[in-house]
Amino acid sequence: MTMSKYWHVLNIGLQNTLVYRLNFLFRATFGLIPLTATIFVWRTIYAGKADGRVGSYELAQMVSYYLVVTIVDALTAVTEDDWQIAADIKDGNISQFLLKPMDYLTYRLCLFGAGRLVYAVVALVPTVAFLWLLRADFVLPPDAATAGWFIVSVGLTALLQFLMSFTLALLAFWVLEVATFIFIAFAFEYLAGGHLFPLDILPPAVAALLDYTPFPYLTYFPVSIWLGRVPAEALAHGVLVQLLWVVAAYALARLVWSRGIRKYSAVGG
């Protein structure tokens, strides 16, 4: 019973996001332009290097890094959900969820899952075409076990991305305009999560410091698994740390939600 009602939500979510498939296609295709530019810049840098290495990356590894980031992003990035959550709160739409026997976080998670599913399917065509063009420099996971770990880690990344965005959007209980907060957090994630460049080409002290934050587990960690850069003995440990961050983010999301609802009800009277 409880499961079936969320299946229903997932279903509705799928149908609703299918409307945006053309938009998704534009976004996925346009997104390849800056990606191409970044790869061009790296190629030029490698052309000027006598030893053909930047940090511990060879050219193929560096190019693949950005390609796998694109894949992870398509599967896990939060795009519209945080805005919608903030709007739900601002416009008072969440009142109906307080009455319904439905948990808002789970409801939102279902919609997020549906949205990512549709996006990933739509983005598949341009992305695969692009990967095929760059196949000479595209590194696959070294073995099936690594691929398995990658899938587990991507799942955790999706949860972590969602929970962090969810919590951030809940700021709408307290402030009128959350957009700036979301963009500031996104900027940090972009840098510290490893979107802009692999984190281990940073000075070692900075990279070590980032290890104590959840950011590397948002992108950098699963990508490193794919590239076979995480040693076998560190895999389980890394995934465990990622899982702990997910649990922590979940606890925080629940806490902020209950605080927010208390504030919200108080406003409503």
């Binding site: 997104g31 530019a37 500031i184 900027a187 080409i201």
Partner: protein
């Protein structure tokens, strides 16, 4: 949202033209200047209503700019040149790209992205009725003041980069740089106007317009990194690899030949003409939201 924001004393909606307007000129400049001043006043008052938000957006933009500079900083930890571009030359390039982008944002961005909304809601009907050139109105309606603040920070970065390069450009170079920055803004404006005009044909144009914003990412990278069809498209069709590269090359004595400037200016002229043609064609096609 914004147009209902009535400001006392604003001449925005159908006020009589100032006495010095020449009724026979098709584009009386003094009248349009005073109109633009009124639109500015409107925007200032609007921003003053949300002071914290205004400051927060400046923080956001500064943060993203710092992010790009960090990227360059990290790249140059591992190399000392990209093609022939040295670190501080690329920083000057990033600064210039940011300068052009922010001035464009300040003057045009909000207005152009709003066009599809004006068409969808039929608000464009109202604008067509006003005794003002419609292209002027949809281009300049609102000013995003934060963009000017961010542009100032870009100027500081360019200045610092020049200092680190130990390079003191001459007056002519600065003047040429300023002119080319304006040319760059005009290119972005005309291209984006053309894209916005597609909303006369499809309601989904807003996605295309935001997609264009992605192209700014290319403009801040050194042109030498690119080759093949990618370089050809983004040099000759959508001259992203010229808009900020050429002014910076002029500033730091990096120009291969003055032909690059000629190319940029020629393309800008062509794009401006194309945008006017497309704008007129699109307007002819427009038949209000309700009919």
């Amino acid at each position: 949202m914004s147009s209902e924001f009535k400001v006392p004393g604003s001449e925005l909606a159908g006020a009589p033209p100032p006495p010095d307007a020449r009724p026979h000129s098709p584009f009386p400049i003094s009248r349009y200047l005073s109109l633009y001043a009124a639109l500015w006043r409107n925007s200032v008052i609007r921003e003053l209503g949300f002071k914290v938000n205004f400051l927060m957006w400046i923080v956001v933009e500064a943060l993203w700019f710092a992010l790009q500079l960090t990227f360059i900083g990290v790249l140059y930890l591992h190399t000392d040149h990209i093609g022939t571009w040295t670190k501080w030359q690329v920083v000057a390039l990033m600064g210039t790209s940011h300068l052009i982008q922010q001035l464009f944002t300040a003057i045009f961005l909000t207005n152009l992205t709003a066009l599809s909304e004006h068409i969808r809601t039929g608000k464009l009907d109202f604008m067509l009725l006003l005794p003002v050139n419609t292209r002027f109105l949809i281009s300049f309606r609102q000013v995003d003041l934060g963009g000017f603040v961010n542009a100032a920070s870009a100027l500081c970065v360019i200045g610092y980069a020049l200092h680190r390069l130990g390079h003191a450009p001459g007056l002519a170079q600065f003047a040429g740089f300023a002119v080319l920055v304006v040319v760059g803004i005009l290119i972005h404006y005309s291209l984006m106007l053309m894209l916005s005009a597609t909303s006369f044909w499809t309601v989904r144009a807003q996605g295309i317009v935001w997609g264009y914003y992605n192209l700014f990412n290319i403009a801040r990278l050194p042109d030498e990194a690119f080759r093949g069809p990618f370089k050809a498209v983004f040099t000759y069709a959508l001259p992203m690899l010229l808009v900020s590269n050429v002014p910076v090359k002029l500033l730091v004595d990096k120009l291969g030949s003055p032909l690059e400037i000629l190319l940029l200016v020629t393309l800008a002229t062509l794009i401006c003409i194309a945008s006017e043609i497309i704008w007129r064609t699109a307007l002819k096609r427009y038949t209000s939201a309700s009919s």
